[in-house]
């Protein structure tokens, strides 16, 4: 985790040190709404751990569902590998989350409350419960120990898999960042598709081809949903979705689409017969899924830095008459005694 050294500030990190940049402005070039193009919102303070966590959380959730279903279908080869992937994801997730905290030692403060108004609070509990149940199911699948607890764990983990794989979309959508908040109806589907593709790809890569049929289907289906939902999201966002067409978010998004599509095609066409195609396809889909999460993550930063993306949709809401906005120009109580107006006020005119 790269935190700047003591004494340096967010501002310096964001805008480069004064020595490097000369007169410093945090403004967004070409912005028309705020003076000097200064942003209205703050960029998130989250670092690289968070998009990694989006990936591992999705992987854990979807792998648990896949493993549970494979168990029921009498496919222990796939089930065992699914539980292992779920365990790896569920183990890495808290590590990423905690590493990103400003005060990692205080992680447990998250567990002193459950707040439904906070997707992060709800998610922390989902992740904790998933972690325990996935561990139980994985122990049973690999060693046969604790069969009863393992079976219960398997069912609970599968039930929590959906929420675990998608709640991070709710988390970022529940912010003021336009590119996240305005995508609140599509983002969960992007993340669900991406989760299915990640879990499918990992299982495809190390399950014998004979037993990996469901994993291949999950990869291809997930990839299709991921790409289609992303496309729909970008389309519906309109001008607010601009970050997806420029800068890091744009580049990552393009890479994600290309790799996910190519990987899914490789698995769909040759994944069953060719081990090399299965491995290459799985690697591409995994990389694509990671890039997609990273693209969404970066888009939030770019969106926050663009004051017009915050102000223009709000202005449009007001002009359409959907809302009155936060401004009032007249006194509601009618006229007040104007004798109270002091000469100073009149002079204030100039």
């Amino acid at each position: 985790m790269s935190r700047p050294e003591l004494g340096t500030t967010r501002l310096a990190r964001r805008a480069g040190s004064p020595q490097q940049r000369g007169p410093a402005s945090v403004g967004h070039e070409g912005a028309k709404t705020t003076p000097y193009g200064r942003p209205v919102l703050k960029e998130p303070v989250w670092t690289w751990e968070i998009p990694c966590y989006f990936y591992t959380g999705g992987l854990a959730g979807a792998s648990a569902i896949l493993a549970h279903l494979a168990e029921g279908q009498g496919n222990p080869q796939l089930a065992r590998r699914g539980w292992a992937a779920a365990l790896a994801g569920a183990g890495a997730s808290p590590a990423f989350l905690i590493a990103d905290l400003g005060k990692p030692a205080r992680f447990f403060n998250m567990l002193r409350v459950l707040k439904v108004t906070s997707p992060m609070s709800v998610g922390t509990w989902i992740l904790s419960a998933s972690g325990v149940s996935i561990a139980l199911a994985a122990v049973r699948a690999w060693t046969g120990l604790f069969p009863r607890a393992g079976r219960a764990g398997s069912a609970v983990a599968a039930a929590l898999g959906g929420p675990l794989g998608t709640y991070t979309a709710a988390l970022v959508a529940d912010t003021a960042i336009p590119v996240w908040h305005e995508a609140r109806h599509e983002l969960p589907f992007v993340f669900a598709g991406s989760a299915a593709a990640s879990a499918g790809a990992l299982a495809t890569a190390w399950t014998p081809a004979k037993h990996a049929g469901p994993a291949r289907w999950a990869t291809v289906g997930g990839a299709v949903v991921e790409v289609a939902a992303t496309q729909l999201m970008e389309h519906r966002l309109g001008s607010v979705g601009e970050p997806y067409h420029e800068g890091p978010a744009g580049r990552l998004g393009m890479a994600a689409k290309a790799m996910t599509t190519a990987g899914a095609a490789a698995i769909a066409l040759r994944g069953r017969r060719s081990r090399a195609a299965a491995l290459a396809g799985a690697a591409l889909v995994t990389a694509g899924s990671l890039c997609e999460r990273w693209s969404v993550f970066k888009a939030g930063f770019q969106s926050a830095a663009r004051p017009d993306d915050t102000v223009v949709p709000q202005r449009e809401r007001i002009e359409r008459g959907d809302t009155r906005g936060a401004v009032r120009r007249t006194s509601p109580n009618g006229r007040v005694d104007t004798d109270k107006a002091s000469p100073a006020i009149v002079a204030h005119r100039d």
Binding site: L69, A173, D174, A196
Partner: protein, 306 residues
């Protein structure tokens, strides 16, 4: 008294300990940009210098080197230079004759020294946390560190905050930020410690023009309405109140403003919305996606059975 405009946890959860809801009315029409509030806030609250060990940081953007609110600036005096010729600003509502007289007077008095003949104005406004009625920062905080005080204000408990940073992008005004060498988030407390001793917040006490007024929120609102009427009667028709009503997207500000231009001219959002207002829809979409994930994987397992 003062129990109008209840928030989620106030006054109900405080019972008899609830106090009248306190707030700020920042009247920017009398702000002279002296930054006494910024200094008083830093002094009282022991807020560190923004640039740490680095040399002074100049923006070249008017007299505004504070730039924005953040972990180390809980009051920010915005300086905005506008080149609006006095006589063509229709918002002034002056007759041409009046405008010409004013313009001529300004010249003969030697006042129009800047941007010769063009006319210009400075907007100055001391920005602060709005202490929203529906505060997104508080709602998304996963530890309960951000809480509603008995005065109806929004405060971070620094001994609880674990630096998750969720409140930072949740605030529709970009108020909160993380202090890098500390890891936690910091913001205006409306001088919670001083309020407990029935003292006025440091910034309000330091303000030499009474641009920052502190008091019971409903009283402040009345005062603001009167002030708005005075200004419009005096011909200053650009005057407007920002955040003075319950019906806006955050349910009204505990710290609201009188502005002389649209909010965005001060880097403020014209229609701020508490993001959790849409949380129902967000959870519904997420639940639908979760169900779709299970359904899709079930189909994959059935279809992939060879």
């Amino acid at each position: 008294m003062g129990y109008s405009l209840p928030t989620t946890a106030w006054p109900s959860s405080y019972g008899e300990h609830a106090r009248a809801r306190k707030g700020f009315f920042t009247d920017t029409s009398v702000c002279i940009g002296c930054k006494a509030c910024e200094v008083a806030c830093k002094e009282w609250n022991d807020v560190p210098a923004r640039n740490g060990a680095q040399p002074a940081y100049f923006t070249g953007e008017s007299y505004d080197n504070t730039i924005d609110l953040g972990a180390d600036t809980w009051r920010h005096v915005a300086f905005v230079e506008q080149r609006k010729a006095l006589d063509v600003d229709d918002g002034m509502g002056m007759s041409l004759a009046e405008a010409a007289a004013l313009e001529g007077m300004a010249r003969s008095e030697g006042l129009a020294t800047y941007q010769d003949g063009e006319g210009m104005r400075w907007l100055m406004a001391s920005d602060v946390c709005k202490h929203c009625t529906h505060a997104a920062c508080l709602e998304v905080c996963p530890t309960g560190s951000l809480f509603r005080t008995e005065f109806g204000t929004v405060v971070v408990q620094e001994d609880i905050c674990n630096g998750c940073g969720y409140c930072v992008p949740a605030c529709p005004f970009g108020v909160l930020d993380q202090r890098q060498d500390d890891g936690r988030v910091w913001k205006c407390t409306l001088c919670y410690d001083r309020l407990k001793d029935d003292k006025e917040p440091a910034c309000a006490q330091a303000c030499p023009t009474n641009s920052i007024q502190y008091g019971d929120l409903d009283e402040l609102r009345e005062r603001a309405d009167e002030r708005l009427q005075q200004l419009t009667d005096a011909g200053l028709e650009q005057a407007r109140l920002y955040g003075a009503d319950d019906q806006d997207g955050v349910g009204g500000f505990g710290a609201f403003f009188l502005l002389l231009d649209e909010p965005e001219a001060y880097h403020l959002p014209p229609d701020p919305v508490d993001t959790t207002r849409d949380l129902g829809g967000i959870y519904r979409a997420t639940a639908a996606a979760a169900v779709a994930l299970v359904a899709g994987l079930t189909a994959a397992v059935l279809g992939g059975r060879r």
